[in-house]
Subunit: 203 residues, 2 copies
Amino acid sequence: MGVKERKERDRVDMKELILNSAHQLFLSKGFEEVSIRNIAEAIEYSPATIYLYFKDKNEIFYALHGEAFKKFNQYMQSVFTIKDPFKRLVAMGEKYIEFTFAHPKYYNIMFIAEAPMLCEESSEGWIEGGRALEALESIVAECIKEGQLKKQPVKVLAFTIWSYMHGMCSLELRDRMKHYTEEEREGMIEKSFKIFIHLLKNQ
Amino acid sequence: MGVKERKERDRVDMKELILNSAHQLFLSKGFEEVSIRNIAEAIEYSPATIYLYFKDKNEIFYALHGEAFKKFNQYMQSVFTIKDPFKRLVAMGEKYIEFTFAHPKYYNIMFIAEAPMLCEESSEGWIEGGRALEALESIVAECIKEGQLKKQPVKVLAFTIWSYMHGMCSLELRDRMKHYTEEEREGMIEKSFKIFIHLLKNQ
DNA sequence: TATTAAACTGAACACTGTTCATTACTTTTG
DNA sequence: CAAAAGTAATGAACAGTGTTCAGTTTAATA
């Protein structure tokens, strides 16, 4: 009587097959550029079949959104070995920048695209995303406790830092730095990051 | 022999007709949601006609991009009456936030959307956008000269401020603050802005 | 093996941006 | 004024999109 169980396994496998295919296409083509027909063709099924496993295109990319956050958290892992909380904070910022430009397509669905966000709030993608934010908040809290940051509401300060990081990265990703000459632009992000760290510290 | 001139006027008029229609539709429907057929229908021409006046859809929205920046600069005008440069800087930040949430669709094409940016670098849209940035830079320069901001490279510091403003506003616009409870979210932007201003000032 | 249930698909719907041959209109020339 | 030339506008088509659904194929059960 293990039929039901096997069917369930098959369903999960099929979902994974679709997702893997979508993932691969997504990384090579970008977000809006991948079509249901593309995915269907890659796995040699009819486009209609995909709708038996996912509500719509959005649901597929929402799943990728979760994976992107997993990769992001993985990326951050290395900084947690750093003892000094402020140094850890700085390292986290550097890793953030690194991740952004190493995986721009992930960054896009994580923080910029509007499509995949219209989903349920309490599911894998958001949970994984929440973890990253909590990590930042706990570092900020530590920095405050150790007197390396001025005492301030942790959530608000963490959000302020996140805002800056995201603003800078997304302006570059979305090509909004054309006002600057090649020369000015060269190293702008690194210089700005140093300034921001100074702003945080010097008080 | 005023025929050529009249023809040229007609051409400009037609371009304006298309642009106005696109503008209106854009404000009510959003960016990707407006189709060439929508615009054509609104002005009672065939879709193909539009391609006699604009290279593609992108070129149409690039023009709107310029208008958005004009509106933005208009919006900022009021702060220039403020004598004290730091107060002017703060007021500019407040206006920036105000503009973002008063005209989210403008903000989107100005700073977030990737579509209309693939155009020539030295045209109206970018010039108008450059003006806004120059305004910020000159205020920052003034603040430094008057000792209200620590001496630092103007361009980099201005970019840092812009990054923060943009990051915060775009995270909210693109609905990336679901991690926060309604309570936390309430006033988060204002609180963060205050913190950021403190970071800038206290040194 | 016949029946029931689940899985899958072809074709269609209503769209999209864009192109191009053909038609309609306007201006210039003989 | 009529014919030729030039410009403006369009209908229809192309190749694509997300999505739905009636109908077929495949698998499990009685």
